[in-house]
């Protein structure tokens, strides 16, 4: 593994998660070094989203440990985890559809008290996604799919997190916008934010990331530097459509 | 752990003091009636402390095994495994001999229980099988009761002649209620069905010319039985009116058994499967070829039909009906029977009907305390067992395994 990065900001050790009787995560072990972009790729239903939800505390790990900056977080409720500095942009544009764009972003900054900082970050988000600025009074539900996706990412950025979890940021977006989003992701990362990314668009994800994990039916089957994975024959066959 | 629990205890105690002391202390004039208020407060605190002790003791025990099924599940499982003859036989025997050993009051309570069991079974079709909330179910009971009363009083129809008409009327009302609710979601259904229930009651109360309004109707004949005798050398039919309570008990017992058989058959039929599919996932059911609109209407109609039967019997038994017998609270009780018993579970409903109607009777002397306890127990039950007493489980079908084995046999 690449040693250029600092300490691991996030470590998962043998994490098992169940949906009632379904064993969704069957012992996930992975690490996210500080300052890196890590991506998790795999087919629909492989357990990628469950992994993110387990990190955020929405789903409970029945077994295993999750360490964030050396602290055990697997028993903490989601709001405490958020307060520690983990933000998530969830899958499927889960924005507050009956609140305005502005209010959605404000909710992102719910835990923050620094008014000026919030204002600055809001400007920053608007500069990343100018279309949101044009629509800041509009209700979230009236935005198009891509705009909702941007809003969800913007909302997570407003949390000023140390670790940003992105669940399928490319979902339903036009290729141009996808490229823009991934550029943005790299830009954010350069500012010092660690990013943990879940993607179906494996190619895009691997080219952006430093480290990649491949997931299949609840298990991590491959892990390597992202560039190495791109060259991996099996990955090419299964996820890059040859 | 203990420290946290004690902190909780203190907070709860403060809450309890705030809630109880003013409400129980200032009951009349401005004087504070300390004795009663503090007595109740003391009981409350004692319960809290007890709860704390239980919690502390429990925390020292090993955590429960997740994989092991819970006790009620195991009981339910075992219930399913016992051959029917051993459970149903004694139950039927007990029901059959009950009027011979019981006094009139007990029989009357038994009759009431059975009426509510019938109602619960009917509502079970709507709520339990089809998954539609209905807060106005008692209206169909009223329709059944009034149809028999009116047909009997005005046109002299016998119980048997009036019954089918009442059932059809009930089913029509069911469809009328069902139709506008087809597109509605759960909570909107609640107010609409509640509204319909009230509308039917108010119509019965206000339509003086037909229903005699609040005076009610009285003097209906009891259900008759006919038996042949040989008189004057010829065969003659004698009409015998069931006036005694044991007679009425057997009568409603037979009705209840028929309804149980009917609901059970429906449950296991193609229609029943479609209903449960609707309850589980309406969109998927529709896209699997189940005409959900028609089946939802059918569920309302069938439920209403069963309630009408119970209503007709009720009117015949009491010989008196009044719109005030069909208040919203009655709908709530029937719904409680269904939910408490375990949604969709027939044995659950029978037991819950028994518990909710007969057990409070035992404590009738306690008057308001009885209702206080009724409410508290209802909430507690839901918290402990949100799935109901005997959760419904789709019966495992053993007969297929035999078939499979037979097929594999020659290989």
């Amino acid at each position: 593994m690449n040693q250029d990065y600092g300490d691991n900001i996030l470590t998962l050790e043998d994490v098992h998660t169940y949906y009632e009787n379904i064993h969704a995560l069957k012992g996930i072990t992975c690490t996210v070094p500080k300052g890196s972009i890590v991506c998790l790729i795999g087919a629909n239903g492989a357990g990628k989203t469950t992994t993110l939800l387990t990190i955020s505390g929405v789903e409970r790990a029945r077994r295993g440990r999750i360490l964030f900056e050396g602290q055990n977080i697997e028993t903490l409720p989601p709001e405490k985890i958020a307060a520690l500095g983990i933000a998530q942009s969830p899958e499927g544009r889960q924005i507050f559809s009956r609140m305005s764009v502005m209010e959605n972003l404000e909710m992102g900054a719910y835990l923050r008290k620094d008014k000026e900082g919030i204002q600055q970050d809001m400007e920053w988000v608007f500069s990343l996604f100018p279309v949101l600025k044009d629509r800041y009074r509009q209700k979230g539900g009236t935005l198009s799919g891509g705009e909702q996706q941007m809003l969800a990412i913007g909302r997570a950025l407003m949390q000023q997190p140390k670790l940003l979890l992105l669940d399928e940021p490319s979902l339903g977006l036009a290729p141009k916008i996808i490229e823009r989003i991934f550029e943005t992701i790299q830009e954010i990362n350069k500012n010092g934010m660690t990013i943990f990314l879940v993607e179906q668009n494996a190619h895009m994800a691997l080219t952006t990331s430093d480290i990649g994990y491949v997931m299949e039916t609840g298990r991590i089957v491959l892990e390597d530097d992202a560039s190495a994975l791109l060259e991996n024959k099996e990955v090419q066959k299964a996820y890059l459509g040859e | 752990m203990l420290g946290q629990e004690i902190k909780k205890l203190v907070i709860y105690t403060i809450f309890l003091a705030i809630i109880i002391l003013p409400m129980l202390g200032f009951t009349g004039g401005a004087e504070f009636q300390a004795e009663r208020a503090f007595l109740v407060f003391g009981i409350g605190v004692a319960l809290l402390v007890l709860n704390l002790i239980v919690k502390v003791i429990r925390s020292h025990r090993p955590p429960p095994d997740h994989d092991k099924p819970s006790l009620p599940e195991r009981i339910g499982d075992r219930l399913h495994r016992i051959p029917k003859i051993f459970t149903l036989g004694p139950l039927l025997l007990a029901a059959g001999t009950f009027p011979l050993v019981a006094n009139n009051y007990m029989i009357d309570v038994g009759i009431t229980c059975l009426i509510y069991v019938c109602l619960g079974l009917g509502l079970n079709i709507v709520v339990g099988l089809c998954g539609l909330l209905d807060l106005g179910y008692i209206a169909f009971y009223a329709v059944g009761a009034y149809s028999y009363s009116l047909l009997n009083l005005t046109y002299g129809f016998s119980f048997w002649a009036a019954l089918p008409i009442g059932v059809v009327l009930g089913m029509i009302c069911g469809c009328i209620i069902g139709y506008p609710t087809l597109k509605m979601r759960g909570d909107y259904l609640a107010i609409v069905t509640l509204g319909f229930g009230e509308i039917i009651r108010l119509v019965l109360n206000n339509w003086d010319d037909l229903t005699a309004g609040p005076n009610g109707l009285f003097g209906m004949k009891r259900p008759p039985l006919y038996y042949p005798t040989i008189e004057d050398g010829g065969l003659d039919m004698v009409t015998y009116y069931l006036t005694s309570l044991p007679g009425l008990f057997y009568f409603i017992l037979v009705i209840a058994i028929l309804i149980i058989i009917g609901v059970n058959r429906l449950d296991k039929s193609r229609i029943g499967r479609a209903w449960i599919a609707i309850r589980e996932d309406e969109v998927a059911a529709e896209l699997s070829g189940v005409p959900t609109t028609w089946l939802k209407l059918l569920a309302y109609a069938m439920g209403a039909g069963f309630a009408s039967v119970a209503g007709a019997f009720f009117a015949a038994k009491l010989s008196y009906v009044n719109p005030n017998f069909f208040l919203f609270m009655e709908s709530c009780i029937v719904l409680s029977i269904v939910v408490l018993g375990g949604i969709g579970s027939i044995p659950g409903i029978i037991i819950a009907g028994f518990i909710l109607i007969a057990v409070p009777e035992v404590f009738r002397e306690l008057e308001a305390f009885r209702m206080l306890a009724f409410g508290a127990i209802m909430t507690t039950m839901m918290i402990i067992r949100p799935e109901g007493l005997i959760p419904a489980s789709r019966k495992k079908r053993e007969f297929h395994r035999q078939r499979d084995e037979a097929e594999r046999g020659p290989q």
Binding site: M204, G241 | A284
Partner: protein
């Protein structure tokens, strides 16, 4: 010719244009795949075809019948069945019963027959069970007939959905991402199954992301992007289509191709 024809079909959700002016045909007895990025409107097409909601504009015909305003259950009885992207089984029912529900539109017994348990009803029930077990055998679920659907492993749940859809004796089967969440081995088996189903005379209309499956079994592919058809043709042509690569397969695929 029992083919499905979509003519100029559009669907709007508020301001969002999910599908615009789609023209396509699903020919009989073939395997046709609909692909495109997430949110391109593939599931919307399925939903319109199966009557979940009517198209805003345009016509959908199947076997000469206009489907636009028909109820979903009626469409099923016309011989069109489907599965769902996110599995929608009847969780508290057994495997057997799930499939039996699928047979609803091909059976007749009403409430009165059920109440009286007439000989007709009994015979029909027996026939239903018989046929269900045959189907379950076909799908390899026969030994699990007594399990609750919610207790099945993921792959089996996918299979059960297809079995349920098949129970309505369809002529056209719509599969919405059937391989989602399956590992490569399971996907392989699924491909065989789909081909086997096609060989029984079924028309298969497929939405799928797994390119191996799509390219492996499709006889024809339609590509959607932003609600518009951007390409149509045989798998080979699609793979080479610049527009498709740009919109869906990704510039990475393009790069690879150049490298290759």
């Amino acid at each position: 010719m029992t083919e499905m024809v979509l003519k100029n079909v559009s669907k709007r959700f508020g301001g969002l244009k999910a599908v615009s002016d789609l023209d396509m045909t699903v020919p009989e007895g073939r395997i046709l795949s609909l692909i495109g990025p997430n949110g391109a409107g593939k599931t919307t097409v399925f939903n319109m075809v199966t009557g979940v909601y009517p198209p805003t504009r345009g016509e959908i015909h199947y076997n000469g019948t206009r489907l636009n305003r028909l109820k979903s259950s009626t469409i099923v009885s016309h011989g069109i069945a489907r599965t769902f992207q996110n599995i929608r089984l009847f969780g508290s029912m057994t495997v057997l019963e799930n499939v039996q529900v699928g047979m609803h539109c091909r059976t007749k017994s009403g409430p009165v027959r059920a109440l009286l348990k007439t000989p007709f009803e009994r015979k029909e029930e027996e026939a239903i069970t018989e046929k269900t077990m045959e189907l379950l055998d076909f799908f390899g679920l026969a030994d699990k007939y007594n399990e609750y659907a919610s207790n099945l492993p993921y792959g089996d749940q996918r299979l059960l959905e297809i079995a349920r859809a098949n129970a309505s004796s369809p002529k056209l089967l719509l599969l919405d991402e059937p391989a989602a969440g399956m590992n490569p081995i399971e996907t392989e088996a699924l491909m065989d199954l789909i081909l086997k189903l096609r060989d029984t005379g079924l028309t298969i209309f497929l939405v799928e992301h797994d390119m191996k499956l799509v390219m492996g079994i499709s006889e024809q592919i339609v590509v959607l992007d932003h609600g518009q058809k951007i390409a149509e043709g045989a798998p080979k042509d699609i793979q080479r289509n610049e527009k498709v690569i740009e919109a869906y397969l990704g510039s990475g695929a393009k790069a690879e191709k150049k490298a290759g």
